[in-house]
Point group: C2
Chain length 225, copies 2
DNA sequence: ACTATTTTTTAGTATAGCCTAAATTAATAT
DNA sequence: ATATTAATTTAGGCTATACTAAAAAATAGT
């Protein structure tokens, strides 16, 4: 469709576009100025400014007062940034021994480094990983994503098993909690018991350790069976 | 002396400071606005602006119309940036198989990533290297530099030997030339002949290959004996 | 349907970093 | 020593990205 080369975005435009992409993934509706403002921690007025600019570069469709939709070009660019972010996360965790709750901020800086060849070589060096340390899929060069089928832990039946493949909430606090109880990405789990009235469950991790998890935690863990 | 924490610099201020540091290393006099302008590829008027800002942050001493001197704080900050730049160069060459003439631009971006812990872990991961791929010393966390004694290749006597440890000119064109003739950092050389009237010489590289080098090339190669 | 509230945009301001053109200061040459 | 030239700074402008306050549009409540 788009014959033209993708536009070049500034550091800041890239961040806004990434935020818009993530927000679009959630509710399938258009994304509101206020939501973006919250996500980006800037004022709505600043968001309006930026939306005009992103609209001019055709990475979003912008109708005043009615929120925005990301375009195909926008999606490609956002996925390129996400690819870089996640590859750097893999690097930080696997090569530099960062724990998975420490990598976000640093990757947020590294993702803006422009060199294409750098990312290709990094990808190769890391063995072409398909998922980041949080279990999120790494898009390929062309923005294609192979995601694995996943269910919230809360949907697994008693005595059902699976592997933790991702988390929804990736706040540092949550990740630290998971680390503490040994529920890392890739851990094999088995549901031992489910308590109906409060939504909490008991699971066995790696056939060794039994832990209790509250409904809040259970809702934020994704399982591949 | 300076009790206060070092100031935080913007991306652009960091680049100017690095340029001023490098220029100070050459002639031991104050650095002129024009020199900085040439180095940074910006106009002298922009340099004046920036000098005022860097002066306000006390990383340089700025006397209008008389050029600038870098302060102790400035030196520390510049060396931190240089440390990051050179560590990333080592990473790019040793881990990602970049050739040494490809690393400059990418390292110029990577050097601005702020995380302290990232640089510590990178340093560790690389095995605490003391020199970058061009043979330039990597300052430690505190800005201390252990440089090895080095002579320009032009000063080596006939039949004198040594190892190439650095280059003065590190333009991509020059580095590609060296690569082509096999004169990499670490190569062992022996001076076979020196031609007085044009300053060119003949050297033997790694006891195998004899090559001729013009005065221009010879002046830009540094040898450790 | 119409008012009150919320959301979004516009208008105007600030700062960073660049620019050109003009003014000023320093250096040089006779 | 003064006049010319060169280097540097100032003045004013531009763009990007933020902000606040005010205006305008959309939404919600009765």
């Amino acid at each position: 469709m788009s014959e033209n080369p993708l536009p070049i975005l500034t550091y800041s435009e890239e961040n806004y576009l990434k935020a818009i992409f993530h927000l679009s993934e959630e509710g399938k509706k258009g994304v509101s100025t206020n939501d973006i403002s919250t996500e980006m921690k800037t004022r709505p007025a600043s968001v309006s400014d930026m939306l005009r600019k992103l609209g001019d570069k055709s990475v979003i469709e912008y109708r005043k007062y009615y929120g925005v939709h990301i375009t195909e070009d926008g999606k490609k660019l956002a996925l390129q940034t996400i690819r870089k972010h996640r590859l750097w996360e893999v690097f930080l965790v696997e090569k530099l021994n960062f724990s998975w709750d420490e990598v976000h901020e640093v990757a947020d800086e590294l993702e803006h480094i422009k060199s294409k060849i750098l990312i290709q070589r990094l990808d190769e060096y890391l063995g072409f990983p398909k998922f980041d340390p949080h279990g999120d899929p790494i898009p390929d060069e062309y923005g294609d994503v192979r995601s694995r089928p996943r269910l919230p832990l809360s949907e697994i039946e008693i005595s059902g098993t699976g592997q933790i493949v991702a988390v929804k909430d990736s706040s540092a606090a949550f990740l630290r909690y998971l680390d503490k109880v040994g529920a890392y990405i890739g851990a094999r789990i088995k549901v031992i018991d489910k308590v109906e009235f409060d939504g909490s469950i008991e699971i066995l991790v790696d056939n060794k350790k039994s832990i209790f998890m509250s409904k809040e935690v259970v809702n934020n863990i994704l399982i591949m069976q």
